[in-house]
Symmetry: none
DNA sequence: AATGAATGAGCGTTCATTCAT
DNA sequence: GATGAATGAACGCTCATTCAT
């Protein structure tokens, strides 16, 4: 279940990156271990040196893809200035990142689907959303504390924003050529924040 | 790509229902044609009598799962009464349905992922969302016309609502034991509608 | 092993002709019973009403294709006139027939190959060649008797002519676009007959 | 379409020989990849390591069976002595070889039949016959140059001889227990060569 | 540490054949 | 006599996984 802590632990990210690329291109199932090995410039057997089996590889690929963090959400917490506008900037930033790696979204859906059968995957995804939610919640709370927002339940707003991101992901993915998603998403979140703003 | 139009066209729903059950339980890829046949109480060869191949079966299974319509959204259009409260009722209804068929969500994610490789699947999903969006848009527009809502872009609100549904789906699916999703979703949509309401 | 002698025995040639067409087009193995049934305008089950199984159908298809006789070889026996020139005319005639149904040659090769595994097929082919040989032998003999040919072994010449036909069949089939086969065949047989002619 | 060029390229002839044996015994279609693998003492998957698919295997089996060359026909070209007698010796030699590997003839017919559907197979067979014809043609031409034969078209005689070989193959194959084919073939070719000899 | 070579286990698909109507 | 519907039995092919070197 876990990569070996070898000297050439450089192999692990090498393999994981190859895996993510191949998974995104061909889908979790059509991607073969051969594909991954080839993309990593290694032999199949070598991949098995670092990952127990394909499930293991998928699991760590998920972890890797979940590591990308939440943009500079942390920055908002420590910076001065108006929270709302900083959130809206952050939305732009995240949405732009999404737009750039649109292909990667499809792995996301496969990971979600996998959660149904693999508890450890579900747990990681849950943990990811919890952290996300927690962080976003604190940001909203800061806005409340600073007097920008009404005294609403910060957590509810955090969840709403996350749901909007995920929901627009779906719409974006199914109709990737429609360029309006980004502004629709931004406007919706703005509307939401406006509605809890104090004046 | 096409089921036969024979007398025993009862076979087709029989197989499709079996397929949906098996797909939901095992995932699109781990579900074998044997599994589907067995679940349908038929032989494998018989399944092939009605569906060209597994891809064909998956495609029509998608169509079936997309056929469930949009609740009584149409009802709102023709009924009298306040739009906002009717929308909120409808949200409750749809969300309850989702809660009941939580397992089915996982197929949904697989279908989304599949859209990347199979244009005809992407098209059907797009069409589904377009109809959904169109209908919801008309409902919002009715609210505007009736003087309930400000003169906002109805379509943007419609998309926002759909995105919220999809986004909460994701959250729900990854953490199915959390009972609060439904009310969080309902509250968020209420917040949204309140923010465009006229008083 | 044998077609039923039913009232609608018109079905039998109907099926056999369809079978020959399909066999020629797709090969004995790739041709399915469905193909044959469809080509005959009947249902699969009906084909089984008249032929026990596919092997049976192939066997009777072989018989049918062997029934085409040996051109007007018999005519030479009863006619007056020079034998040699009549044989050469007959060669032209047969070779032209071959040219017209070039596709059919491929079934021929499949039948030959099948002879290895199916004694009853080998027997029919043997019988076919024996009759052919016998008839041709008599024609040569007539030429000897008439004083056209030297007193050679008529049977050897008959076999040689048959072998030349079969051999040119192979060459023709493998290089069907070469138009010279017919004249090469005719010239070779002429050379052979000249070499046994008396002046 | 292509065997791998690895160290264990010993596998390739191993598999091809097994394939030829199985193909001859069961026919191209009834022979399964499992049969071939088993005959080669390997697993099915290993066969697929060296041959892309069954078609590929058949194609290379054809090449192998076509590689056996044309006896010492080349020897006649460089040797001194009478051409005619050397040809007749060669006929005996080739015919004996044919007699020994009578079973293999049946694959031959299947290959011919296959030429109809597979252009690359047709091409190889054509090439085979062309080389054969070219070589034989030169031998005849040498006989003409040496003053043994009349100044006939060497190529026509070459084709006639090839046709006779192929034709007798057919007859031999359909009636393998008849021991007279060899002498009939030899005599016919002798007759042909006599008829173009100069005295 | 690395891999070429090998394979067991399965899966999607086809097709000759049967049988109730 | 005719057939629509159904299926058992295979077969070609793939792929995750192992292991000797």
């Amino acid at each position: 279940m876990s990569p070996k802590p070898n000297v050439s632990a450089e192999r692990i990210p090498q393999i994981l990156n190859a895996a993510l690329a191949v998974f995104a291109a061909k889908g979790l199932n059509r991607a073969t271990m051969s594909d991954v090995a080839e993309a990593a410039g290694l032999s199949k057997a070598t991949v098995y040196l670092y990952f127990k089996d394909k499930d293991d590889l998928i699991y760590f690929a998920l972890l890797t893809s979940l590591e990308q963090g939440f943009g500079n959400l942390e920055g908002i917490l420590v910076s001065g200035g108006e929270v709302k506008s900083q959130i809206l900037d952050w939305v732009q930033e995240i949405a732009s990142q999404m737009a750039e790696s649109a292909t990667n979204l499809s792995i996301g859906f496969e990971f979600y689907a996998l959660a149904n059968r693999r508890p450890e995957i579900r747990e990681r995804i849950q943990k990811y959303f919890q952290q996300y939610r927690q962080l976003l919640s604190e940001v909203i709370q800061k806005g409340i504390t600073q007097g920008e927002f009404q005294s609403v339940e910060a957590d509810s707003i955090a969840v709403a924003i996350i749901a909007l991101f995920e929901g627009f992901n779906v719409l974006w993915f199914t109709e990737p050529n429609d360029a309006s998603w980004l502004s629709l998403l931004a406007n919706t979140i703005k509307l939401l924040l406006d509605s809890i703003s104090l004046n």
